[in-house]
Point group: C2
Chain length 345, copies 2
Amino acid sequence: MTRLSELGESHIISRVLTRNPESAHVIVGPGDDAAVTAPEGRLVSTADMLVENEDFTRDWLDWDLLGRKAAAQNLADVCAMGADPHGLLVSLAVPDDTDIADLEALYSGLFDEAERAGTALECTVPIIGGDLSSSGLIVIAITALGTVREDAAFLRSGAQPGDALYLAGTVGRAAAGLDLLFAGLRRETAGPELRALIDTQLAPRPDYGALRTVGTPSAMIDVSDGLSLDLARVAAASGVGIDLDRALLRDLIDPLLPAAEVVLDVRATGGAGDADSSDGRAATADDLALSWVLDGGEDHGFAASAPSRQDPGVGWRRIGEIRTGHDVSLDGTPVPASGFSHFGK
Amino acid sequence: MTRLSELGESHIISRVLTRNPESAHVIVGPGDDAAVTAPEGRLVSTADMLVENEDFTRDWLDWDLLGRKAAAQNLADVCAMGADPHGLLVSLAVPDDTDIADLEALYSGLFDEAERAGTALECTVPIIGGDLSSSGLIVIAITALGTVREDAAFLRSGAQPGDALYLAGTVGRAAAGLDLLFAGLRRETAGPELRALIDTQLAPRPDYGALRTVGTPSAMIDVSDGLSLDLARVAAASGVGIDLDRALLRDLIDPLLPAAEVVLDVRATGGAGDADSSDGRAATADDLALSWVLDGGEDHGFAASAPSRQDPGVGWRRIGEIRTGHDVSLDGTPVPASGFSHFGK
């Protein structure tokens, strides 16, 4: 093991950036005061941060998966605008006794996820800048940049009554994984089915490829905080109501039932706490699984509205429809927006 | 006092962004999955992070000045490329018992510094995105974006033997301020001269305006880690040696002598520790002041090389020259690169 404190900053940076891909649009990469790149069209930019003890704990930390998650949550936001990723800026604070191998694993996760997005969207996603700092807590702050043709960005504000609502990827699996972690399960010991849910929490895999087949959605959002909260944002931005169809959500709910049984069992026997759980006090496995689907966002599924006559592309499933009104509802009954929000309200 | 935990994330964000300036190049600002902007020319991007206990302590925290510093250190990097600032993405983690008034002060500092840069360079610098998270430690991670005409970026790699070396702004004042803080002084109680040094540490004021008069430098760098280290980077990137002229540095050294006397007095009487001081064991006030000038970077002065026949613009002072070789030297004697580096080497 080699601790970062035994190495210099510039040596560390060159080690972790060894895999950084060549990109034709990078004119000056990491190493000067700032990067110089050549974007085409409009610039799309977003920033998101993962903080130890808030977004993950040392107890279930996997450096490679943390890197994947940090990249995925930012790339999903760029891609949900209909943009092609252009590059990442990665600011990282870690304890100075961190093993360089762990840091390399984190960057390996970043590069893997950036490559996954790049492969799906036929582009290269280099790291173009960033910062490395020491800290008692692990913090990873990423800015993702992308480019999109003029007037081609997918906003939250264009949904129209009569449109159908589609989802690419999943919702609820990461929330189920989080409750399994809170219930004391770990990816190393869980069976394959539950482990897959934990893995979605630790490193979501947005379906970037579905964005190539989406056509022209009237609105689009990266579901990062839960369907109930994120669709409420679309409803507010578009001035519409959105009705989810429970029957169409069954394919998302049913695979979560075994995990829901496990979590309810642990709770019933007074197992590990679930203070941060988003689901309140679900009485049945079906209730709990539904609450994960409605309020669990970290899968980074993409929700899009489009005229219902338009054929949904590969990877998209219909889950509801856009109506007049201003609420998010499930089979006509309003759903409170209770997905994830920092600072509690 | 209203703690953040009593408010919702979206309410907090709208409060702190009240002052966000309108900008013609912002098509979609904060509030969607990502921002959409219209950069002209090449894109310049940089990211830098301030972490509690590493870059500042709660003991001498001033939220407004922290915001100014976080903006300044990023804007300086963008501007040192010859670019006009385009926008900031601000990711922030703070304890959830933070007073909303403190967070508003931090953003006020960010906006003030962005406005100072924008006024100097005749542009508008909005916050276009970011993230707000809770954390036990305060972390502020900023990405600054800028734009520059094709082939007009100032790199570190163009310095030529025979060029003169110029500085805009100062070096050493922030390092003196840091040693004063370590020696137990505080801005509230220090006299005006020492307080000004502490203020440079807490909130540097880069001379953005000097970048309008710089003409076409052969190389440029934001001096953030100290002249000795940052000029070594220019020397390495350009394949040259750089000789500093001690007589030309006198105007930077002399104003620091009173602070150096104070710091040496406190040390001699066994006062507050100086574990993080960058200057080793300076024997005289002149030695200490010189070490601040050579190794102290957080003033964010701009160093530039240019043909010596070229008239330096307003705000630039000559401090040395570019030679053949590969070292940084002072009156011909090599200077070790001992400015700031994370992880100790």
